[in-house]
């Protein structure tokens, strides 16, 4: 039996408020909009002489990264610090996990150090969910869990910052055509993006990828599938590139990076098929010359660096909302 008992959505508390952020899937539209609305005033904090607000003063946020990450960990750290929290970074690949300590044992020990929030990155899908369940089952559900990327499952704050970025440049979700391009099969980012886009009412979400990099049944998430990039980019407002993980090359899913770039790399020529004011996004880190041409990555339509900046405000909004619930 689930430790969450009667609650249909383990992310929400008994008042329907956000208790943890584990996945975008299943969150109501109003909740996503509230997070995006709340992020806007937080982005102004970065313009001040003192880039800090006192909301999480005295709270301890533990960044538990069982998998490497620079950008996500850093932006979570900055976000927590700008909320005045004490931040403790644990790179578990260099710590107790090597000595055989489990995720839950690690969390128990940190809970005993009066943790208020865990930000978790883990190679296994469902690890943050397991942790939230464990905290509920052991009567410690005052500790909040934020999923910072789990396996192939979800990366909800990336999905949210992408929505914030789209809203910043395009305003109205209900008029947009959005294309997600690349390694959808292995991408937790793509899953979070698809759930967010469909929940927010984007009428046409396309995924563009070779058949070997598409999960079976992806159409059921409400997307149109294209194997031909040129066809898929025609008339889109937003191009969301995915990172091609180099290790995938070894699994015989792709012939070579050169071949991949030829078919699925975003070049100025392919981008010209999208709307003239289309924006180009990438969650980073980019493989230049593999999934994206430098001329596009550094070009006028790219909003890749603003995504990073917006990510801090969105993570501040999420952590502040959780800590207040």
């Amino acid at each position: 039996m689930s430790a969450f008992g009667k609650q249909p959505n383990p992310q929400l508390n008994s008042h329907g408020e956000l208790q943890h952020l584990l996945t975008i899937e299943g969150l109501p539209r109003e909740m996503l909009l509230r997070i995006l609305d709340t992020a806007a005033p937080f982005s102004e904090v970065a313009e001040r002489e003192v880039k800090k607000v006192p909301l999480l003063r005295g709270k301890s946020v533990f960044n538990l990264f069982f998998e490497n990450s620079t950008r996500t960990r850093t932006t979570f750290e900055i976000a927590a610090k700008r909320l005045s929290a004490d931040v403790i970074n644990l790179n578990i690949s260099t710590s107790s996990a090597n000595k055989g300590e489990t995720l839950l044992d690690t969390a128990d020990n940190l809970a005993a150090m009066q943790a208020d929030m865990f930000v978790v990155r883990h190679a296994s899908s469902g690890a943050p969910h397991l942790l939230a369940q464990h905290l509920a089952a052991t009567g410690r559900d005052h500790i909040h869990v934020v999923n910072a990327g789990d396996g192939r499952h979800a990366h909800p704050t990336q999905g949210l910052l992408d929505m914030y970025t789209i809203r910043h440049y395009k305003a109205d979700f209900s008029q947009l055509t959005v294309a997600i391009v690349g390694d959808v099969l292995h991408s937790r980012v793509a899953r979070s993006q698809i759930h967010a886009l469909t929940t927010l009412g984007v009428p046409e979400v396309r995924v563009i990828a070779p058949k070997t990099l598409l999960p079976t049944g992806i159409e059921r998430l409400g997307v149109r599938v294209f194997n031909d990039m040129r066809e898929g980019l025609r008339g889109v407002d937003v191009v969301m590139m995915l990172r091609l993980q180099n290790e995938r090359m070894q699994g015989a899913l792709l012939p070579s990076t050169q071949e991949y770039f030829k078919s699925y790399g975003l070049t100025p020529e392919k981008l010209s098929l999208a709307k003239p004011d289309a924006i180009v996004m990438h969650p980073g880190p980019m493989n230049r010359g593999v999934e994206i041409d430098s001329a596009v990555a550094d070009g006028g339509q790219a909003v890749i660096l603003p995504q990073v900046t917006f990510g801090i405000a969105v993570r501040m909004a999420v952590m502040a909302m959780l800590a207040g619930n």
Binding site: D37, T38, A40, P41, E44, V50, K52, L55, A320, M321
Partner: protein, 173 residues
């Protein structure tokens, strides 16, 4: 849900108070150097009125104290937090914080805390349309043309009509 009650006859005239507040401030402000900061939402409307009436040159700022409230741990984050905008350099400035109703003083404390994160003002004054008393902090208005006493269960709220006219309304908690 809060419920509107019938407007008692003793509710002050918000428009008249705006004019009276501007008159009280006029001898004490320097149109070239004094800056107003309105507190969301009512204070922003009043600050706009004062800015025009006093002919101030510096554009008025606005502050939403949601990130500085002292009841965050009890109540969580306010659902409709607005973006604070301070379009002038706070360092060394003469600032008048503007709000509609002064009550416990906690909002004013939060607003002052927030302002100091933009810089160190030379001086801060406080202008409000009315003071309903029941202070919980040692804070007093510099300019205040009116005061009244209300039961704790009532909220005195400033409203703005479509034509821009300001009026007070009583809301039961």
């Amino acid at each position: 849900m809060p419920m509107a009650t019938q407007m008692p006859t003793h509710l002050p005239d918000a428009e008249a108070l705006c004019a009276a507040l501007a008159d009280a401030m006029r001898p004490h402000v320097d149109p070239a150097a004094t800056a107003l900061v309105g507190i969301h939402t009512g204070g922003v409307w009043v600050a706009a009125r004062l800015h025009a009436a006093l002919g101030l040159k510096i554009p008025p700022g606005s502050i939403d104290v949601s990130f500085y409230r002292d009841d965050f741990n009890q109540r969580g984050l306010h659902a409709n937090a607005k973006t604070s905008q301070i379009p002038f350099d706070v360092e060394g400035a003469h600032i008048v914080i503007v709000d509609d109703v002064l009550h416990t003083g906690r909002t004013i404390r939060a607003a002052m805390n927030e302002l100091f994160d933009y810089g160190r003002p030379a001086r801060i004054d406080l202008a409000v349309l009315t003071d309903r008393g029941d202070r919980e902090l040692p804070i007093a208005p510099t300019f205040c043309p009116h005061s009244l006493s209300l039961p704790a269960a009532q909220i005195l709220a400033l409203e703005r009509a479509d034509d821009g006219g300001l009026s007070f309304r009583l809301i039961e908690k």
